[in-house]
């Protein structure tokens, strides 16, 4: 099996997000970046498929220079090689122009299945896999919590989460994109021997020229949507405690609810 995993480097989930004064993005200074947690499930599943059926696991990631760290982590977990879409032109992408770049990197590769996280925890769009599958003209199954690849590698049965805790069981022909959800597996750690081995594994860097795309198809220029503004929800103000006799309290409360909270 030729297994691909789409992986993104994102701010650590424990990061305290601060919006820049212009409201155009977040302050990136001092942020620690990690592999998108949902992508960890994808890497783990890919490694399990490889262990069972043989083959290679290739990590495909678009991101700035620093994203190589996350690719190395996946290689240290046991993936075989990396493909890193890295060029200033790819910056500022939305889901669509990301999918476009990923598709360009993936098309020349041989693949039987593509895995990825159900969403990246930075922008939480959960759209890249659908757009990518469309561009590659393959099926996709989202929010997958169980996956069984058929012995011949030609199809897979995936369970996906639906409302109310119910499960949907889907049989899909391969290649397909599988968007992984928590619960699918327990991702392994990048072991110390794995970290040492990862240093020798190849990472193919693809810039704009190598991707075969033009600058206005990718990144911010190729994006279908533009982020106008970032803002945090207003901080909750301290509550008010009313004091007095019950009748007075009720009158005050109704007044406040009507005039201040405008709730009634």
């Amino acid at each position: 099996m030729d297994i691909l995993v789409c992986m993104k480097q994102v701010p650590d989930t424990e990061t305290k997000i601060v919006i820049n004064p212009e409201g155009t993005g977040i302050v990136t200074d001092g942020i620690k970046y990690v592999m998108n947690p949902y992508d960890e499930f994808a890497v783990e599943e890919a490694l399990k498929i490889k262990e069972k059926m043989g083959g290679t696991v290739t990590i495909v990631s678009m991101g700035p220079q620093r994203a190589t760290e996350a690719i190395r982590t996946a290689l240290a977990m046991g993936a075989d090689k990396g493909v890193h879409l890295c060029d200033d032109a790819f910056e500022g992408a939305d889901s669509y122009s990301t999918a476009k770049a990923l598709a360009a990197a993936i098309k020349p590769l041989s693949y039987d299945i593509i895995l990825g996280g159900k969403q990246a925890v930075d922008h939480d769009n959960a759209q890249v896999y659908a757009a990518l599958a469309e561009l590659l003209d393959i099926s996709h199954v989202s929010i997958v919590t169980q996956l069984d690849v058929a012995e011949d590698g030609k199809s897979a049965v995936a369970q996906r989460e639906v409302e109310g805790g119910a499960r949907e069981v889907i049989e899909v022909s391969l290649p397909a994109f599988i968007a992984c959800q928590k619960g699918l597996n327990e991702p392994r750690y990048a072991s110390l021997p794995g970290i040492m081995k990862a240093k020798k594994k190849p990472i193919d860097v693809i810039d704009l020229a190598k991707s075969g795309l033009s600058a206005d198809e990718v990144g911010e220029k190729g994006a279908k949507l533009k982020i106008r503004k970032f803002f945090l929800p207003p901080e909750r103000e301290a509550g008010k405690i009313l004091e007095g006799e019950p009748e007075e309290l009720a009158t005050q409360l109704v007044k406040l609810l009507r005039e201040e909270a405008k709730a009634i």
């Binding site: 982590t73 240290a76 750690y189 990048a190 072991s191 110390l192 021997p193 970290i195 040492m196 240093k199």
Partner: protein, 382 residues
């Protein structure tokens, strides 16, 4: 992390792994293990899977090579497991049991102990201390007599970390009586060898989850090939190991002091008395300033000495200074942090009291503060 000049890319990547592993697999269960005075044995195997013991040990035997900075990373990150006992149980196998095998062992000994040791499948203990000889290593009495192809061992050991559950023991024995430090040898004894028994599991102020054992040897026969290193060079072999052990203890104590400082700072910002956060009282602020100064000074001294050590510079004085300063200051910091917590610091549900209990051993184990001062004094020609 990039502020830290001592570590390289591989150490940083590895630190990420250990930190996550400890946060997910150890920290959530630490309180339970501390209360039970035991942690599950399969932690060693799980640690082995992430290569926890592999750092600084040779590749032929399952290590990854490099120097002992990986073990420094372990010592620092183990603070995050919230149990000095777990840190000691995993840590001492890593830092005092495996390195002597790697340094002095024969190929056969390395196959037998180092390979499964790195995998976490066989656990080791270093047994030096005796009821009547702690600081005075030259005063040990456990005797090993050579009879044909065997050593016959008689004696006892105490305070041995992993002493109850280890699979192999590196036992310091007198092989040439009357010669004191020139007549000691290290001999490997396997669990289950006839005549070798664990007489007691000891209960402790701190390091609760670690097992500390008392051992008895009565007419214990082991093959002469179980000698580790050179006969009658045992004392010097032990001292060689102490260099790194002391640096590891100093690094661990510094990290523990930092952690204790961090949680106390949070506490002092949130806790109010007389209508103000307690951290805003000048007396408290000054305590924080003092503590941070000690911690930073300790870290700089320790990192500098590690650098001297891995680059082959003589640094016996500096190692002793690290051991004294970092370990003493960690206890002092923990004590101050309890004071800042007020009555809460005395309660078992607050972590500062555990850090204080766990750190209290640090100026005692691995050569006491007084012994370190003796070392410096001697090196000064006094």
């Amino acid at each position: 992390m990039e502020r830290e000049w001592l570590f390289e890319e591989d150490h940083r990547a590895y630190r990420e792994t250990v930190r996550r592993w400890i946060a997910r697999e150890l920290a959530p269960y630490a309180d339970e293990w501390e209360a039970a005075e035991e942690f599950p044995m399969d932690l060693y195997r799980k640690a082995g899977e992430i290569g926890f013991f592999a750092g600084g040990l040779p590749e032929e035997y399952g290590g990854v090579g490099g120097d002992f900075r990986y073990k420094i990373v372990n010592a620092e990150e183990l603070v995050g497991c919230r149990s000095g006992g777990v840190a000691a149980g995993l840590g001492l196998h890593d830092t005092i049991a495996l390195p002597p095998i790697s340094r002095f062992g024969t190929d056969e000994q390395k196959e037998r102990y180092l390979v499964p040791g790195i995998q976490g499948k066989k656990i080791g203990a270093l047994a030096v201390t005796e009821p009547n000889a702690g600081s005075d290593v030259g005063g040990i009495r456990t005797r090993a007599v050579r009879e044909g192809d065997e050593y016959v061992i008689d004696g006892s050991k105490t305070f041995i970390t992993n002493g109850v559950r280890a699979d192999f023991y590196i036992v310091a024995c007198v092989t040439d009586p009357g010669k004191k430090v020139h007549g000691i040898s290290q001999i490997l004894v396997d669990k289950g060898t006839p005549g070798f028994t664990v007489t007691r599991k000891l209960h402790k102020l701190g390091w609760r989850a670690s097992d500390t054992g008392e051992l008895a040897f009565e007419n214990v026969r082991v093959p002469a090939t179980n000698l580790l290193g050179t006969e009658n060079r045992g004392f010097y072999q032990i001292m060689e190991g102490f260099q790194e052990e002391r640096l590891l203890m100093a690094a661990g104590s510094t990290a523990a002091a930092q952690h204790c400082f961090d949680i106390t700072l949070e506490y002092a910002k949130g806790r109010e008395a007389f209508g103000r956060p307690i951290g805003s009282f000048q007396v408290t602020r000054h305590k924080f300033a003092d503590m941070l100064t000690w911690i930073e000074a300790a870290r700089r001294l320790v990192y500098h000495t590690i650098w001297l050590h891995i680059n082959g510079h003589e640094c016996n004085k500096e190692v002793a200074m690290c051991k004294i300063f970092a370990c003493e200051k960690a206890v002092e910091v923990a004590d101050m942090c309890i004071q800042i917590h007020g009555g809460y610091g005395y309660m078992m549900e607050y972590e500062v009291q555990r850090i204080w209990r766990d750190q209290r051993i640090q100026p005692i184990g691995g050569g006491t503060t007084e012994i370190q001062k003796e070392i410096i004094g001697k090196l000064l020609g006094l």
